[in-house]
Amino acid sequence: MTYDAKVPTLLKREQQWFGGIIGRPIDEDSRMNPIAPSGEPMEIEAADHIAPSPTLRPAQRIQIYNQQYWWRLLNTLHDSFPMLTRLFGYYDFNKTIGIPYLVKNPPHHWSLNLLGDHLLQWLEGCYHAKDKKLVCNAAHLDWAFSHSFVAGQRPPITVEQLSNAEEREQILSQTIYLQPHIHLFQMEHHLFNFRNEFLKENPEYWLTNDFPKLERDKTYLFILYRNAKKDISWKEISLGEYHLLSFFKQGATIENACDWLEKQDDTLCEEATNNLQLWFQEWSQRGWLSLSPSLTPAL
C-alpha cells in the first residue's frame, strides 16, 4: 500500500462537480449545455460554485474550461487520425466520430497518445454507413502510424546470429516475435498511396476538391514499420511474406510457420520455399524479428 494524503471533502465535491460539467459536449457554436446535470439552469448552479469576474458571469467562466476540454481532445484526434479527419472534414468528423467516441471513451490515461486507442473498435461497433470498410481501414492505418512512432523495441535477431550455424539452429526451435512497431495490412485498395496524397492538403481543402485516386484493382498487402532512422515507412509485400509475418506477429516458431505453409496451396508453398532464406535475411537486417516478447527498457 502506498502512503497518500487524505482528500478534503470540499475539494472532492467541487472537483466532481467541475469535472461533471466540463466533460459534457459543447454545442455546434461551442456553447456549454445550459442545463446542469442536476437539471438546474447552469447560470444558477454555476453561481453556487464559481464567483463572477469583473467581466464574466460564473457560467461564462466555467464554459471556458468546457470549451478547452473539447477543443484539446478533438484536436488530438485530428492529429492522431489525419486521413480519417480528411475523409469527413473537421465539422463532420467531430459530429459523426470525435464527439460520440469521446462521450463513450473519455480519456483514461495521462498520455494523449492513447486517446484514440479504442477508436477502431468503436467504429466497428457504432459506425454503420456504406463506407464503413474504408473508414475503418483509414482509422486502422492512421492509428498504426501513431502507434509505430512511439512503440517499444524488442532486442532484435541479428544477421550475425543467423549466420552462425549453432545459433541459427537454436533460433529454429524458438518462438519468434515481430517488433511492436510493425503493422500488417490486407486491403482492397491502395490506402497508403491515397493517404500520402491526402495528407499533402489540409482537411478544408478536401471539402471542395476531388479526393485523390484510390487504386482498387487487387488485394493489397502491406507492412508498416519504423526504419533505422526511426521514421515510419511502408512497403507492399507478397502473400507468403504477409502470412509468415502474421504468424510471427502472434509469436511462432519457424517450424510452426513451415508446418502451416506445407498445408497451403502449391503456389504459396513454392513462393515461401524459394524465398524464405532471403526474407529472413532482409527481416533480420531490418531488425524486425526478436526472440523476446519483452521490450528493451527505453527509459
Binding site: 502512503y3 497518500d4 475539494l11 495521462w110 512511439v150 512503440a151
Partner: protein
Amino acid sequence: MQRRSSLPNLGIGIGLRIPHYEDIFTQQPNIDWFEIISENFMVDGGKPLENLHRILERYPVVQHGVSLAIGSPDPLDFEYLKQLKALTKITKTPWVSDHLCWGRLPGAHYHDLLPLPYTKEVINYVAERARIVQDYLELPFALENLSSYVAFRKDEMTEWEFYSAVVEKADIFMMLDVNNIYVSSRNHGFDPKEYYTNIPLDRVIQIHLAGHSDYDAYVLDTHDNYVRDEVWKIYADVYPLTGGVSTLLEWDDKFISFQDTWDEALKAKQFQQDIHQRHPHLAKAGLQELCK
C-alpha cells in the same frame, strides 16, 4: 528549508518543440538550455527519445510536466512517477516542475490544468503530496502558478497566499510563470504587483515567459504569440527580486521560425542587462536583502 543557492542559473532557454528540431540539429545554435515537456518523452521508444538523446549531447535539459495533476482527488500515480523518474536519469535535469492544479478524477483525465479551491485544507492536501513527489523523485521539485479563468466561492484566500503556503509547507520550489500572473490578474481583477511582492521569491528557481490572447472580457494563456509588454514589465520587476534565475520562453502553437523564437527569448537578456546596470546590487542581493 531547501536552499535555492545550490541550484544553477542556467541562463535563457526555450521550450523544445518539434517544428524547431531541424534548425537545432543542423545549426546547433548557441542556446543556454532547453526545457522539455516530460510526457512527450515518456514513451516506449522511437523518434522522440532519439531526438532527446541528440539534444542532450549538446544542451542542458530541464523537465517540465503537465500530467501530474497533484491536486486531484485520486491517489498519486506511481506508475507515472516511476517513468518520470526514469526520464530524469537520462536528462540529468537539475529539477523537475509541474503545475499547482488538478486534472483527474477516478477513471477520468481532463488533460487540462484545472484550478484548485484556495483553502487551508487544500493547502495541507497538496503540500503533503508535493512533499511525497519530491522525496520520490529525489530531485528539487517546483510547482508552477496557473493561468486561471474561474475562482471558487469557497476560496478562503488569494492565489498568491495559497501558492506561497503550499510551497513553504511542502518545502519545495516555485516555477513562476509571469505571463500566468498577468493572465490571472486580468481574469480575476487583481494587481500583478500585489501577487509577486507577496510570495517567497527566494523559492523561485525558474521563470516562464509566454504570449497570450486577449479577448477583452478575458485573457487566454495560449503560448502562441510574442510576450506582451505588460508581461515583460512584470519580468523586469521580478527577475532582480529573485536574484537571477533560469528563464524560459514557452511557444506552443502558431509557431514562428526557430531564430525568431530564440530572438524573442533573448529579449529577456536585455531586461537582465538593463537591470544589472541600473541596480547592480539587486542581482546579488535578491529579495531577502531588499526586505531588510
